[in-house]
């Protein structure tokens, strides 16, 4: 599971503990392998898992992912949709905001602190912005929030949840039944970035490298 999603899930579980009766559903879009991620979500405290199945293994643009989730979520009555601030792999930082825009509900990104939820009408949040500052606000529900790492400390799965997750059924929905349109951007290539020419890799065994490093530090009068 994406590290940012671990924080998102933990935040949901905490809300569940604060407000009895909260139902937590984990949703993932992707090929068959994402089922194992959904199982991890169940182990960590989600009550249900829904898999939006995209048959082929391919690049999904954030707009496609968001359209599928929004199409599914639009049929339910979710008070809060929580996502990670970005995906660790493609690092777009877009899906949560797009879901909110498609569903025409509120959205706040980079949430580093969540306060109380008021009678299912609003939630207090603090957004992390630049220069060590935060923007604090009440967000009307229903809403999407994307959480920043550090908002909480994700817990380990409990034994009872691990056992439950093993056999629990995960609902599968065919992506084509939800939304069928074209993406708006396309991935055309992926490569390793060029290394900067200036870097010197110290050679030899561990000891030689350490000696070389000490020499460098001496030459620069750093030690």
């Amino acid at each position: 599971m994406n590290r940012f999603d671990e924080f998102a899930l933990e935040e949901a579980v905490r809300i569940g503990e604060e407000i009895p009766g909260t139902e937590i559903e984990a949703i993932s879009v992707g090929p068959g392998r994402v089922v194992s991620t959904l199982r991890k979500a169940l182990e960590r405290g989600a009550a249900a898992g829904t898999h939006i199945l995209v048959e082929e293994e391919r690049y999904m643009s954030p707009f496609e992912t968001a359209s599928l989730i929004a199409s599914y979520a639009g049929t339910g009555h979710y008070d809060l949709i929580i996502a990670g601030v970005m995906a660790e792999d493609d690092m777009h930082c877009q899906v949560g905001q797009m879901i909110a825009a498609i569903l025409e509900i509120r959205c706040a990104t980079s949430v580093i602190h969540r306060g109380t939820i008021r009678e299912e009408t609003s939630v207090y949040i603090e957004r992390e912005i630049e220069e060590g500052q935060r923007l604090c606000m009440e967000v009307a529900l229903p809403a999407v929030i994307t959480v920043q790492s550090g908002i909480n400390r994700p817990r380990y799965p409990s034994l009872s949840n691990v056992l439950r997750a093993k056999n629990q059924e995960i609902r599968t929905i065919d992506a084509n039944d939800l939304w069928d349109d074209d993406g708006r951007d396309q991935l055309i290539s992926m490569r390793r970035p060029e290394a900067s020419a200036k870097g010197v890799f110290l050679e030899g065994g561990s000891n030689e490298k350490a000696r070389a490093l000490i020499r460098i530090l001496h030459e620069r009068a750093l030690i």
Partner: protein, 326 residues
């Protein structure tokens, strides 16, 4: 309809334009010369006429200032609706924002509403077969991906630090048009606060910063990082966000996009992968030494000296040698 404009959404902080905004202007100029479009700057804010005139003069680009009481501190609803109103008017081919907490909050929603593509954290552009390709980092900087827009319009966010702000002044000032935003009153209350524990940091004054990343493996290994920092006369301990999130060090030690920006004489990155958000906070260090077990770690792309080793063995051995050589 001809779409021949590149709109730049300016971001304000502490009474002025953010550096990232100036960088977006540089980006938009490069994009503009690639596709023969002209730029226009849109500034949402409160009491911004002076700022609008200033940027029109220095950049030579036409400016639209959007004034409203509720556009003082950033929040998504009023900003998005005010900006969309203006965008629908000028119908630009590209909308550019900084990839900042404001920019990435706004861009995807604007793209959805405009029916535009959305490409975020752009680091490079180039032309290929008459298409403009946008490059960005994936996998924490291990991969560089190229994306193209498939629609008439695209909303782009520009990675801070990828372009340099221009210092040249334009010969001819751009025009300034001020509009009043048509916003419903009673927008929710927004307040600004300093993150807890921000102030007391020793990082700014340090000559040498030794930084710990998740690669130190466990909290106990911070001891060797502290010892390494201790061999320098003005050494301090820094950290990646992951280490602070794990609670191994306080957030005042965090370096990067959402932490401190530092430029010491020497920066030693220990077990730090080199995610762009980390690098943006330390790339102006005079010398960078990186210790990482993975020869492909992106941190090596910016390091002056690269040491591919397991730090849990390398650092104690190094400390021992330093001890002997004294």
């Amino acid at each position: 309809m001809m779409e021949d404009k590149i709109a730049i959404i300016a971001e304000l902080s502490r009474g002025g334009f953010t550096r990232a905004t100036h960088e977006v202007i540089s980006f938009a100029r490069e994009l503009g010369s690639a596709c023969a479009h002209s730029e226009i700057i849109i500034i949402p804010g409160k009491n911004i006429r002076g700022l609008a005139e200033e940027i029109a003069r220095t950049s030579g680009i036409d400016v639209i200032g959007i004034e409203a009481e509720t556009l003082d501190l950033y929040s998504a609803e009023p900003f998005k609706s005010a900006i969309l109103d203006v965008l629908k008017d000028i119908n630009p081919a590209y909308v550019c924002l900084p990839h900042s907490a404001m920019g990435f909050d706004l861009a995807p929603g604007i793209a959805v509403d405009l029916g535009a593509a959305c490409i975020t954290a752009v680091e490079e552009i180039h032309e290929d077969k008459k298409r403009i390709c946008f490059s960005k980092s994936m996998w924490g900087g291990k991969i560089r991906a190229e994306l193209v827009s498939m629609t008439q319009r695209a909303v782009l966010t520009v990675l801070p630090g990828a372009w340099t702000a221009s210092v040249e002044e334009a010969f001819i000032a751009g025009s300034v048009r001020m509009v009043k935003a048509n916003l419903a009153l009673g927008a929710s209350e927004i307040t600004l606060m300093e993150a807890p524990g921000e102030r007391e940091s020793e990082l700014p004054g340090a000559d040498v910063i030794v930084s710990a990343g998740r690669g130190i493996g466990k909290e106990e290994n911070l001891e060797m990082i502290r010892k390494l920092a201790g061999i320098f006369s003005r050494g301090a301990v820094g950290a990646s966000r992951s280490v602070c999130d794990l609670g191994w060090l306080g957030h005042k030690h965090q370096i990067g996009f959402t932490g401190k920006t530092v430029s010491p004489g020497l920066y030693i990155a220990c077990g730090i992968s080199g995610a762009i958000q980390h690098i943006s906070g330390m790339k102006d260090s005079q010398m960078v030494i990186a210790i990482n077990i993975d020869p492909h770690a992106p941190i090596f792309n910016i390091a002056d000296y690269c040491i591919v080793e397991d730090l849990t063995e390398f650092i104690p051995a190094l400390l021992e040698l330093v001890e002997i050589s004294r």
